[in-house]
């Protein structure tokens, strides 16, 4: 717990430093500003050696006396203030909570400090980047998303949980899975299977795929949340387990895989502690259609957005491996995408009994 306290003090100091700089500028009668690293493709580098996406050094100045930035400036300070209070009182809270904590009406106007949580979330990220402190260090957590099941016991905030006996729902992965909260006790697994969708995860769970193949079965309900990604990172690094990712055959699925593997553009600053460069792409591959004789009627035509997204991904430096280029090009060529559920057309347990074992066994994955 000392660790936690130190972390809190450090974070508080960083926040205060940020504010003091602003005050200094105000006292000089200057336009107060905040330096915020840019979180966009333009300021993201793919580190070939580490195989992760890293944040560059480009900074964006956020001025108060600028109509388009004033509100964000104010919001940043509000969030910073709230975080400081959180740290001071040694409580953690969800980012939704924080949104409500900082939301109020401005003066006599009809304006609110925040209109929507989508407004406050990026601000939190801004704050994280600019003071170089992780959300967890600010005592913030997101809502639980994603679940896990497998032959493993964990200690979560002091409670011992047997992840093999979690019924059909599995253990819901918390947003903060730092060492001081989640501790791995007994892990008996050969690999981790990360599934995009919970529907497919349910099928695998119901078929006790994890028991049969001794694995840890996880899903992230679409784009994997930070908790899931951090947990994956820890499992891979601490328990040295290989990680397979099983996603839809569409540009979005590919990107989910790439986020798990190399990190995201938006949270590039966290890649260091979240990206799992060793992750392997198990499917669905564009070539699976032929390989497994999937009927044509389960395919979905690519729409305009899919095509442009696919083309975008094609340009990303971390998709430049030949296999991936082929993969994406094949999808564009065929003009169709596949959902994981499409495999059910070959029989309800085709996934568990045929497809996955085949792929894992024969190393039919993309790196």
């Amino acid at each position: 717990m000392d660790n936690k306290k130190e972390r809190e003090i450090a974070a508080t100091k960083k926040i205060k430093h940020l504010a003091t700089n602003v005050v200094k500028e105000i006292k000089k009668n200057e336009n107060p500003s905040l330096d915020i690293p840019i979180r966009a493709l333009s300021n993201v580098k793919f580190n070939d050696k580490k195989c992760i996406i890293e944040l560059g050094n480009a900074m964006q100045k956020r001025y108060f006396f600028n109509v388009s930035q004033a509100k964000k400036f104010m919001q940043t300070l509000l969030i910073a203030n709230a975080c400081k209070d959180l740290l001071k009182s040694e409580k953690t809270t969800s980012i939704r909570d924080l949104y409500y904590m900082t939301k109020h009406t401005l003066g006599n106007s009809k304006q609110n400090t925040f209109d929507d949580q989508t407004e406050s979330d990026p601000i939190i990220e801004d704050l994280e980047v600019s003071i170089d402190a992780l959300r967890e260090e600010l005592n913030l957590f997101a809502s639980n998303r994603g679940a896990l099941v497998g032959n493993m016991k964990v200690e979560d905030s002091g409670d011992l949980i047997n992840c093999g006996k979690m019924g059909s729902g599995g253990w819901s992965v918390p947003s903060i899975v730092e060492k001081d909260i989640v501790k791995f006790k007994e892990v008996d697994a050969k690999f981790i299977l990360m599934v995009e969708k919970d529907a497919v995860w349910r099928r695998l769970n119901e078929d006790k795929f994890w028991k049969k193949h001794k694995c840890i079965l996880m899903h992230g309900q679409g784009m994997a949340p930070r908790g899931v990604r951090r947990l994956l990172y820890r499992l891979v690094n601490e328990k040295k387990l290989p990680l397979y990712v099983f996603v839809d055959n569409d540009p979005w699925g590919f990107y989910i895989y790439s986020v798990i593997k190399q990190g995201s553009i938006n949270l590039a600053y966290e890649s260091q502690r979240m990206a799992v460069p060793s992750a392997r792409f198990l499917g669905l591959s564009s070539f699976d259609r032929k390989l497994y004789n999937l009927p044509d009627n389960v395919t979905i035509k690519l729409n305009q957005q899919d095509v442009s997204r696919a083309k975008q991904i094609l340009q990303y430096p971390w998709f430049q491996k030949k296999g991936w280029q082929n993969e994406i090009k094949e999808m564009l060529k065929a003009g169709v995408k596949l959902e994981l559920e499409a495999l059910s057309s070959k029989g309800i347990s085709f996934v568990t009994e045929k497809y996955l074992p085949d792929k894992i066994k024969n190393n039919k994955y993309l790196d």
Binding site: I26, N31, P32, F64, F65, V67, M74, A80, N81, S109
Partner: protein, 1552 residues
């Protein structure tokens, strides 16, 4: 037409009819057929459009006749004999015309006539356009008015007479004794000249005198002149004339032998006026000198004259000669002055020939009076009225006009020649003219200040306005018994009557009478009319366009110019249009104008022939263009209803009007006059009235007749249009300008615009002998040189005969013309409206925030010049948060977290919360309420105010409220003020703590704690060097208050303890270059007393604080107090002025002034003490004080004092007073002052006592007066009729409940009875006294108690009047449902202003061609296309592709050309020739740019305000966060922020 005729030729030829038969048949068919087949071309395709077209034709053709030339120059005011003058002018005239009735006319420039305005009756000068004279045809009349004003006019000549409430012109023949004639009444302001330049005058003198004139005092400026000239300092005038040298303006002139000289820039001053005045009365001019004869006893006059002469020019000499015992002669020896008086000033030389010098008329009103004063001193006798006598008729007339111009009432009489005998001496006495001037006291007796009640319509109106309130005002009783009222009381009565306006009289009617009363003209009764003989064979006349009147006659009477001599119709058009519904789809159209009318011979041509027009052949701008319409209308009418057209026409007032009933003969295409009879046409001197019934449909909306009329009004602001539809009543579009459009010139065609066929025809028709001559004479802009060039290019011999040029050669010629560069055609053939006229028209009909107009320089298409005019009006929607009045500010600045004062159910005044604020568009009248105590408030008519009736308060609509009723106003306002520390009022950054000891003390302490200064300075964030300097005694820097506070805090001490120790501060505002230190006292009563003194009798400025008063004791106490409070010594300047120059004090006082109303009562009292010591007074009647008053010049201070007095519970009354002119003398000159003063008066004893005990005076004299007065007064002396409670019936109920008789209440039973009948009101004091007597029972007693001890003063309404309309009104929703505005309690409403065009939807496009609105076929039109093709987005209006721009704007485009290429005969749209399109676009773009800059400005302001608002909102959040995060002081942050905001928003540049 021609082609149509051939087309419709019948195909059957074989019937054997003769060619003649067929030809006549052809015609018959063709006309009706042509019409029916081509209705759409002519604009008769639907009943709706038919009406439109008919209206259009009728209106267009009436406006057209009036295109005069107007020129105006500044002239000298002269009094001339009209005959002499016109004879002279006509003799010289080059443009003399004589018409068939042998009227000689000549147009004339730069002469103006003195007229009054028909609407407002204000007097002004108007240009005369022409003069006329003609032989006397009929009798000559002499009219004599009361006071013996006379004038001689011909019988048909008109004068203006007041009849039936209107001023109308009547021929003299019709005037009867007893009629009232219009004459000038009020003073006419004349600016006057200060100096006249005699240089041009002396040069024009006959050479006999001319050569003797020498120029003095300038020889030193010339070198090549004879030594003699230099020695005696003179140069002959000849030298200047010969060498053509300008005489320097410092020169003096004299005539050789004479010693005295006068300046060449001759001053027109009071001295000259006096001399001229004395001369007019006593002077005689001889050859070389002026002589004034006085009685020997008239020493004052003699001395004054000598003094004046000396002041006029130091080189003038006078000599006194005692002619005999009783006569003293003053001789003014100046040949040049004598000559000046005789020749230039035209003073006349002897008693019988004297005149009022022309120069007097051209000097200012004051100087004119000076002249009169001097004249009266010489010849006048001052008694009840001033009597003047002269034997010079000219002088008498001149004097009368001087009286007229200065608004001085007078009368006159004449004493005929007689022989007087005196002690056996017989002497012939000449005819003597007596003038009587009614000065101040007798002013009311002058008939000029009276108005006839009957003739003016006053009686009718007052009776109509007020059928029953007669008893209210004593004047009303007289209205039926008196014949005339003084104008003053008539005005007052009318105002009274207006309050109870019933709707029996129209507003216009009232306005007319009010104008009569407020106008500059008066009315004199005709005393006598007689026929006289004329001295001259001619009679004379002026044309004054737009006014048709002039001031004339020996007695200065307004005369109508007689149009019998004026054939030019330079009148401002006035058109009446009426559409009447006869039955379904059948309407009658009546159009009336005031044009020249038409003569019988023209009628069949105009109305019969389809293609007859006066405009076809002429290349000049005119309206109707083809002139086809009215006949088509007639035809259409006849075809659809079978009825002909009815015409009433009058060509001159001498001739009767003619009525014609017209039928078209379709066979002959001729008009047949069925009826022709003479008719009476009342009130119309000339003009035409058409009546036509036809199948039509009247609809409202776009493209309706209504719209057409409105647009016509915009394009023709010089015309007045009256318009009546089947649905609405008469609407009038008043003219916005008196200027007539410029007269269009006819031009020859430009060669570029000619077509081949026309060229051929012209070659055939020309009278020119050679080709060159043909080209130069038949075309415009073709010089012989160009003609030659054309011929060369066409390889034609320039001397060839035009008629012999072959077909092919013409072609060559045509081509050659296009090749040669020819100047653009002259454009004086155009009559553009001009930007200002366009704006005038637009402003009149469209209410907008912004107007811009553009006139393009004329351009040429196909050789025809044209011009584009364009205009946009932009709405105020963008500007909704414009300037503000207080409630508006409150509403719009979101200040509603602050409470407002309101009245609760118990009649107590207390602050209440505001729940909501409102802003409405006002749909109601605005009324202004004035109460007895001088409070004023503007309210919408439907707003409610609390009125007391029978002891009960009811909410009554303002429009139902009556004068005499009592409205609730606050009697006391209780504000718990607080005393701020003076230091807190000032910006701590600007305040420096000067107390060296204090500072160094703290520094020592800090050093003890922290070791050294450096560390301390660092912690405090103060520069170390500066910090060190705090300790120095010399050249020391001092910490500002913020720094000092930080230091104190750092030392661990409480700043509050130190606040009191700081005695000296200094301000270093950036604007102060040299701040002085100042001792800071507590904000105590003395400070406020000083401020009060300064607010009343001093002034506070950056430059210094001044106190100006005559009372020594006040100066003493002012000085002492300033010294003891601020440590400042006062400088005394003269006896009455104390001053101190301290900028810091200035700032401090200004701050206190600002927060004055928030201070507690004791400080308010102190301020009032100061104020009354400066400006207060006590007026006493014997021992009794009648009034305590405070006078101030500013309304705002008066209102402040009233409110402050109210805080103390003293009720006062504000009265506005015009202080009459005061005469004072400074340096020998009389100085006049005039000012407006607001008196705050306190009258009631209770209030006076309160005043005495709380405020009183400190000057011994006044203090004694008030103390003695108050002591000697008993309650009975001043039973106030001010603080009263109208109990009425409630007192009766109260009595009933308690079973009491009237006398049992302790007052006289009579007065109680009166109170109960609402005839009298009980004063608050009496009511309180009554209620304290006994224990009463019942419900009423509680109500009475509430009333007796309420905070409400029931203020009597003394006036309710209508004020101009306001666009927006504001309102507050308060918890009690009412609030206090302008010290009147009111029910949720107040006002502001604005104006707007509907802002959504497309821009409204208004098109004009030659001032005619185009309504149909908008999309075809070049104008529309031009608008579509303009990129309006660049100019701030949104516009979707291929559509009109949208936004709150009206866009007007006017095309003016000698030939407008319409796309069809119905003249609805302009063809899009590229040249026209280009010009339209350019005009629109220019207009757009003007609009854009306006829109940008508004948007910028809006944007800035938005920005600032956003920042202000966010700053609070940011400061809070930062404070929380860093612990930084919120206020400091806030202050910095505000500073940055100021820098970065309005005024500063953009943040990033």
């Amino acid at each position: 037409m021609q082609t149509k005729l051939t087309e419709s030729k019948t195909k059957k030829v074989s019937t054997g009819k003769t060619a003649e038969d067929m030809a006549s048949k052809q015609r018959e068919i063709s006309i009706s057929e042509f019409f029916t087949k081509n209705r759409h071309l002519l604009g008769f395709d639907s009943p709706r459009r038919a009406l439109m077209t008919a209206v259009k034709e009728a209106v267009d053709n009436s406006v057209e006749y009036s295109e005069p030339v107007l020129i105006r120059e500044n002239g000298l005011i002269k009094l001339v004999k009209i005959g002499e003058y016109i004879d002279k002018k006509i003799k010289k005239s080059k443009n003399l015309r004589i018409n068939e009735r042998s009227v000689e006319s000549s147009s004339i420039n730069s002469v103006e006539s003195f007229v009054y305005d028909d609407k407002t009756f204000k007097m002004e000068f108007k240009p005369i356009s022409a003069i006329h004279r003609h032989k006397l045809h009929n009798k000559l009349y002499k009219i004599t008015l009361i006071g013996n004003r006379e004038t001689k006019v011909t019988g048909s000549h008109s004068v203006f007479v007041l009849k039936n409430g209107k001023i109308q012109s009547y021929p003299v023949e019709d005037i009867k004794v007893g009629d009232f004639v219009v004459v000038p009444r009020k003073k006419f302001h004349i600016e006057g000249v200060d100096v006249i330049d005699l240089r041009s005058w002396i040069k024009q003198l006959p050479s006999k005198i001319n050569k003797n004139i020498i120029i003095k005092k300038v020889s030193h400026k010339f070198h090549n002149i004879s030594n003699d000239w230099k020695r005696f300092d003179y140069i002959p005038l000849e030298y200047f004339i010969e060498n053509n040298i300008e005489i320097p303006d410092s020169a003096y002139i004299s005539i050789k032998a004479g010693r005295s000289s006068i300046p060449v820039m001759f001053p027109i001053n009071y001295e000259l006026m006096r001399i001229l005045g004395y001369y007019a009365s006593e002077g005689t001019a001889y050859n070389q000198c002026l002589v004034f004869s006085f009685g020997a006893h008239e020493k004052d006059l003699i001395n004054d004259l000598i003094k004046c002469v000396g002041l006029l020019s130091s080189n003038l000499t006078t000599s006194k000669i005692l002619a005999h015992k009783t006569a003293m002669t003053i001789k003014l020896n100046s040949e040049i002055l004598t000559y000046l008086f005789k020749d230039l000033f035209k003073c006349g030389s002897r008693a019988g020939t004297k005149k009022v010098p022309s120069i007097v008329f051209n000097s200012s009103n004051e100087m004119q009076k000076e002249f009169l004063r001097a004249y009266i001193a010489g010849d006048g006798h001052i008694g009840n009225k001033v009597t003047m006598a002269t034997i010079s008729k000219d002088l008498a007339i001149g004097l009368k006009y001087l009286f007229v111009l200065n608004g001085m009432p007078f009368s006159e009489s004449v004493k005929k020649e007689c022989i007087r005998e005196f002690k056996n001496h017989k002497s012939n006495c000449k005819k003597v003219y007596y003038l009587y001037y009614y000065h101040k006291k007798a002013f009311q007796n002058s008939p000029l200040s009276w108005i006839p009640v009957n003739e003016s319509g006053l009686r009718e109106i007052i009776n109509a306005l007020n059928p029953k309130v007669g008893s209210f005002n004593p004047h009303y009783r007289m209205i039926n018994s008196r014949n005339s009222f003084t104008i003053e009381s008539a005005n007052a009565d009318l105002k009274q009557a207006m309050i109870y306006k019933r709707n029996l009289v129209s507003d216009e009617r009232i306005q007319e009478v009010q104008n009569l009363l407020n106008g500059d003209v008066g009315f004199l009764k005709v005393k006598d009319i007689e026929v006289v003989t004329s001295e001259s064979p001619y009679v004379y006349d002026f044309s004054v366009p737009g006014s048709e009147k002039f001031l004339g006659g020996e007695g200065a009477i307004f005369l109508h110019n007689s149009l019998d001599a004026c054939e030019e119709f330079e009148v401002l058009p006035e058109i009446k249009l009426e559409i009447k519904r006869v039955e379904e789809k059948r309407y009658t159209l009546v159009v009336e104008d005031n044009g020249p009318g038409i003569i019988k011979e023209q009628i069949p041509k105009i109305f019969g022939k389809l293609l007859y027009g006066s405009k076809f052949h002429k290349l000049a701008v005119s309206r109707g263009q083809q002139g086809i319409g009215i006949s088509a209308t007639a035809l259409y009418a006849q075809l659809t209803t079978g009825k002909g057209i009815k015409i009433l026409s009058r060509t001159s007032p001498q001739k009767p009007a003619h009525f014609y009933d017209l039928h078209l003969n379709l066979k002959t295409n001729d008009a047949e006059i069925i009826t022709d009879e003479e008719r009476e046409w009342e009130g119309k001197e000339h003009g035409i009235k058409l009546q036509v019934t036809m199948e039509a449909e009247y609809l409202k909306g776009k493209r309706s007749v209504d719209e057409y009329i409105k647009q016509t009004a915009i394009a023709n602001p010089h015309a007045t249009i009256y318009y009546k539809t089947p649905i609405d009543d008469w609407v009038s579009f008043e003219r916005a300008t008196q200027e007539l459009p410029k007269e269009a010139k006819e031009i020859k065609p430009h060669p570029y615009g000619i077509e081949l066929g026309i060229l051929m025809r012209m070659l055939k028709d020309t009278e020119a002998k050679t080709l060159q001559q043909f080209l130069t004479s038949e075309f415009s802009r073709v010089s012989p040189k160009i003609a030659k060039e054309i011929c060369e290019k066409a390889s034609l011999y320039e001397k060839a005969r035009p008629s012999r040029i072959a077909r092919q050669e013409v072609d060559n010629l045509y081509k050659a013309i296009q090749l040669v560069k020819i100047m653009a055609p002259p454009t004086n053939c155009l009559t553009p409206m001009g930007e200002d006229i366009l704006l005038k028209g637009l402003k009149k009909e469209v209410d907008a925030e912004f107007y811009a107009a553009v006139t393009r320089p004329p351009a040429v298409y196909r050789g025809n010049p044209f011009q584009i005019e364009c205009c946009t009006g932009d709405s105020k929607i963008i500007l909704e948060d414009g300037r503000i009045i207080t409630i508006k500010k409150y509403v719009e600045a979101n200040m509603f977290d602050k409470k407002v004062f309101s009245m609760d159910d118990n009649f107590k005044i207390k602050p209440s919360k505001v729940f909501m604020v409102h802003k409405f568009k006002n749909k109601h009248k605005i009324l202004k309420i004035t109460t007895k105590s001088g409070r004023e408030l503007n309210l919408t008519a439907n707003n409610e105010i609390p009125i007391i009736e029978n002891g009960e308060m009811i909410w009554k609509k303002v429009e139902d409220a009556m004068v005499g009723e009592h409205v609730a106003t606050p009697r006391v306002i209780n504000i718990l003020g607080k005393i701020p520390n003076l230091l807190d009022l000032l910006n701590p950054e600007h305040v420096k703590v000067v107390e060296q000891e204090l500072v160094s003390d703290i520094m020592d302490k800090l050093k003890n704690i922290y070791g050294d200064y450096k560390k301390v300075a660092q912690t405090l964030n103060i520069n170390y060097d500066i910090f060190k300097a705090y300790k120095r005694t010399k050249y020391a820097t001092r910490p500002n208050l913020t720094n000092f506070k930080n230091m104190v805090n750092l030392a661990g001490l409480n700043f509050k303890d130190f606040k009191n120790k700081i005695n000296n501060i200094r301000l270093v505002d950036t604007n102060f270059t040299n701040p002085h230190s100042l001792k800071i006292p507590e904000l105590n009563e003395d400070v406020l007393y000083i401020l009060g003194l300064l607010n009343s009798d001093g002034h506070i400025s950056r430059k210094g604080i001044y106190f100006i008063n005559m009372d020594e004791s006040l100066h003493k106490s002012f000085g002492n107090k300033l010294y003891s409070l601020f440590g400042l010594s006062v400088k005394r300047y003269k006896k009455h002025e104390s001053s101190v120059c301290n900028k810091t004090l200035y700032l401090v006082l200004k701050e206190i002034e600002r927060i004055l109303p928030t201070l507690p009562d004791n400080l308010i009292t102190a301020w009032l003490k100061g104020f009354v010591d400066g400006d207060g007074w006590v007026s006493k009647h014997g021992d009794i004080i009648s009034e305590i008053g405070i006078a101030t010049a500013k309304k705002s201070s008066a209102e402040l004092v009233q409110t402050m007095l109210l805080r103390l519970g003293i009720i006062s009354k504000i009265q506005k007073k015009n202080i009459p002119k005061k005469f004072g003398k400074i340096k020998g000159r009389e100085i006049k002052t005039k000012k407006i003063q607001y008196n705050i008066s306190i009258r009631n004893l209770k209030n006076m006592r309160k005043f005495h005990s709380l405020i009183s005076f400190r000057q011994i004299k006044r203090a004694n007066a008030i103390t003695e007065g108050i002591q000697s007064m008993v309650d009975i002396c001043c039973r106030s009729n001010h603080d009263v409670i109208p109990l009425g019936n409630s007192l009766f109920k109260f009595r009933e409940e308690n079973n009491l008789f009237q006398y049992e209440l302790g007052f006289s039973d009579l007065s109680i009875r009166d109170i109960e009948k609402n005839k009298q009101n009980m004063s608050r004091m009496n009511l309180q006294q009554m209620l304290s007597l006994e224990k009463f029972d019942g419900v009423m007693v509680n109500r009475l108690k509430l009333l007796a001890f309420s905070d409400i003063l029931w203020d009597k309404i003394v006036n309710i009047e209508l004020v101009p309309h306001e666009e927006f009104v504001y309102d507050l929703t308060v918890e009690t449902g009412n609030f206090i505005a302008n010290n009147i309690i009111m029910h949720n409403c107040a006002i502001s202003f604005g104006g707007s065009i509907p802002g959504d939807g497309l821009v409204q496009v208004v098109r004009f061609a030659n001032r005619v609105p185009l309504l149909y076929k908008q999309s075809d039109c070049a104008i529309t296309k031009g608008i579509l093709n303009t990129a309006w987005r660049n100019y701030g209006l949104s516009q979707s592709r291929g559509a009109l721009p949208s936004g709150p704007a009206v866009l007007i485009v006017h095309m003016n050309s000698v030939w407008i290429p319409f796309t069809s005969e119905s003249k609805e749209s302009i063809a899009s020739y590229p040249a026209i399109m280009k010009e339209i676009k350019l005009a629109l773009q220019e207009c757009g740019r003007k609009l854009a800059s306006h829109v940008r400005k508004i948007k910028k302001i809006e944007h800035e305000q938005k920005r600032q608002k956003i920042f202000e909102l966010y700053i609070v959040e940011v400061t809070d966060s930062l404070h929380n995060l860093t612990g930084e002081n919120k206020e400091t942050l806030m202050k910095h922020f505000q500073k940055i905001v100021k820098q970065r928003t309005i005024g500063g540049e953009d943040g990033q």
